[in-house]
Symmetry: C2
Subunit: 269 residues, 2 copies
């Protein structure tokens, strides 16, 4: 199952021992600007190598995902069918949907999106989405983690479903939280077991891109821009690291602007 959308939020801090970028909330945006490849206004896939913009780049929202945290949309108990009330339970601080019949609480929690960044012959494998949202735009194979599987297993499964590619996981590459839409991306570096891939039902095309040819101007989600930007930086610096960060929607920008984000609390090995 492909990812249905993307977006962003945040707050926080961070420090020592790792190579940590300082707080990158908007008020600190002049500190240690994180740069990403400049989106090419030319609709062709070729990305201009430089110059690079500062950190404010992609994100794309899906209305269905934006409502993932809307507790008031839960009107009935899924276990007994009773009507719910919306209240803050004793000892808690958040508004919850509580069944007026059986008393059970319908907790809502963020979802994990797992995927693979597949390296092959100094290229990476991308899929062109054959479904909405972001139909026709490029993504890494990724989708929601299912109950009963590990993040690693889920990433391998999604890659098989979307690219018919049998991969071997190399290492975790990035954990990217997108609090506003209740998603956390977990991207693994992977390699093809055999040099075969083809589009699955949710993809119209699968293609290997050299780093200079990654279609930054035609990516589906902010998470993909962040992931691929960090990867390109890492490779140019020598080798991939592990990254943690929060993708936060830049206030006042269009939900459809996948470049309107900040990467906050960025930490890497």
């Amino acid at each position: 199952m492909m990812v249905k959308g993307i977006q962003l939020q945040l707050c926080g801090f961070v420090t020592q021992r790792w190579n940590l970028k300082p707080i990158t909330s908007l008020s600190f945006s002049s500190l240690s600007p994180i740069s990403y490849p400049n989106p090419n206004p030319n609709p062709s896939l070729k990305l201009l190598p430089t110059p690079r913009t500062t950190r404010f780049a992609p994100f794309r929202a899906s209305s269905s995902l934006q409502s993932s945290g809307n507790v008031r949309s839960i009107k009935f108990c899924q276990w007994c069918g009773g009507s719910t009330k919306h209240d803050i339970p004793d000892g808690e601080e958040k508004l919850r949907a509580i069944c007026t019949l059986c008393g059970r609480i319908a907790y809502q929690n963020p979802k994990m999106v797992v995927g693979c960044l597949i390296e092959h012959d100094n290229k990476v494998l991308l899929c062109k989405r054959n479904i909405q949202p972001s139909h026709g735009l490029w993504t890494l194979p990724a989708g929601y983690l299912e109950i009963g599987e590990s993040a690693l297993e889920g990433a391998v499964r999604e890659t098989m479903e979307e690219a018919n590619a049998d991969v071997e996981i190399i290492s975790p590459f990035a954990q990217l939280d997108i609090p506003l839409i209740g998603q956390t991306y977990m991207i693994f570096l992977a390699k093809l077991k055999k040099p075969h891939f083809s589009p699955g039902p949710e993809s119209s095309e699968c293609q290997l891109f050299s780093l200079d040819d990654i279609p930054f101007n035609s990516l589906s989600f902010s998470s993909m821009v962040v992931t691929l930007s960090l990867y390109v930086e890492d490779i140019k610096a020598g080798k991939p690291k592990f990254h943690y960060g929060t993708i936060k929607k830049r206030p006042g920008t269009s939900p459809s602007d996948i470049r309107a984000y900040t990467l906050d609390h960025h930490m890497h090995t």
Copy 2:
């Protein structure tokens, strides 16, 4: 909100570039055994420094969490109140609860548990649980991630709630998937902003433990045994790494035996 339980499952592979431990499923258990501190049969908190056992150690299950993936327990649509049917939707492979009135699907996904491993004066901060399950046993401050917050923010919040400790995040330390109960732990290294802490409502006690005094025999969950074992190993080897792994329940063992697990697909920086 504290974690309500713990457990395990898995399958997979793994390779190069990072220091990767080979496949650690049961059939490969004789390869590269992962060792953890030997649980001290003495009920005092003092842990014997050596010998160390092989990888088979903790886990503790909560019946409420074990049912987290039980799609058949979803009998009504939480949005329209219609009865559900349990079927595999077109284009999918998993059994889902589908509303017979509005057609919406109630997806169930794994939950993230976020927490802090707080370092202070060469000691770590643990909380004694004042709630079930695992009442009276020791845990890191941790709980379910909420929609609207990043993993980092959630870990900081839980630490404040359970230990009244204001912490600063140092780095990600471990991602541990527990597929059988649909949980993923994300543990961050952290430090106290001020040397103050005290038990919150869900804790009866908070205490700093030197590494040799960590109560491995009185921990609440397998995830805590894994996290603290890896941490002790890392510190003894020089410095903390970032770890990814899957905690899998060892077949045929009691659900209450928190040491009956394997750590599979273990990768670290």
